[in-house]
Amino acid sequence: MTTKYSRDDTKMLFAKLRETEDPELREQLARLHLPLVEYLAKRFKDRGEPLDDLIQVGSVGLLKAIDRFDLDRGVEFSTYATPTIVGELKRYFRDKGWAVRVPRRLQELSLRLNKVVSQLTQDLGRSPTVSEIAKAAEVSEEEVLEALESGQAYSTTSLDAPAGNDDDDTPQRLERMGEEDVALENLEYFASLAPLIEQLPEREREILYLRFFKGMTQSKIAEHVGISQMHVSRLLSRILEFLRSGMEGDADY
């Protein structure tokens, strides 16, 4: 199997593919051009979506390009494929509602405020207020509110992202093992919820327990579990949403 990029290989593979329609050839072409997808996906990596997801989205564009490419056009496949892949990535962000709806100014402020918030959380030992954020970032409180709201809208959409892609193998993880049983027992006291709670990943179950049964704050949980407070917040909303819809019918976490 060759994965090294070569124009001649590409031409040959395309010729064979058009002739035989062999899906194996299509796949080989896709593999051959994956570095192009990776390169293009990286250009979008600072927008808050995991690179792996972007590569996947870009790959969809690549496959479309492979299916539509016409050898007789006399252009290189990579030249032809680039706009298709980029188009797919752009559409992904557009569908996510971020790139288009939220003005650039707010996106930038929102990203900057994220940093200010984590710094303040560290300095104060608690979550900051809007006025504290405004002071630290040297913008008005209304601007902070505006940016937070746009950021919030954005986080809400990224709830669809698969959970559990944080590093689960943090050292604290081992120390926490013993607490698991307690968590389950307490949560399962609510018999109607037990089957739903069982569907939650271990980490989500623990977060649920710590927040609602131990009364731990989000920041404390964040520290304990080794993820950011914002992430804890997102997970909590998502867990509650899941439990609610689960009680009313069926739901998948």
Partner: protein, 128 residues
């Protein structure tokens, strides 16, 4: 300097409108020096309470009343409900959630009007 008075938001009894209540409470709380985390708690709490009422609602609007107090925020959610039971079963999981999210939670009923009252105080300045 702080504006006073009760802010009311009324939504039709449809789940699709509940996010508006979340936004309203967050907007008020964030302007009242609650920490971001507390704002988040309030958002979740109001949603939980609204969903509880929605399940029991006799297709009547759900009202959210927000009142800024000296040390925090008083929140009332009200609607007209069917049946004779109280608005919330206090042994339910939702009740546990609400109790963790706010400082006070009460469920009352007058005639066919059910009310869930939540109160949250600012802890600004008190380390977590």
């Amino acid at each position: 300097m702080t504006p006073s008075g009760v802010i009311t938001v009324r939504i039709p009894a449809e789940a699709g409108h509940v996010p508006l209540l979340r936004t309203a409470v967050a907007g008020v709380a964030a302007r009242q020096d609650f920490t971001l985390e507390e704002v988040d708690d309030l958002r979740m709490g109001v949603e939980e309470a609204a969903v509880l009422l929605l399940r029991r609602s006799a297709s009547q609007p759900i009202e959210l009343h927000l009142e800024v107090t000296g040390d925090g925020l008083d929140i009332r959610l009200e609607t007209v409900i069917d049946g004779d039971e109280p608005a919330i079963d206090t042994s339910s999981f939702s009740w546990t959630i609400l109790s963790a999210l706010v400082d006070e939670v009460a469920s009352t009923r007058e005639g066919n009007r059910a009310r869930i009252a939540l109160a949250k105080r600012r802890t600004q300045g008190i380390p977590a």
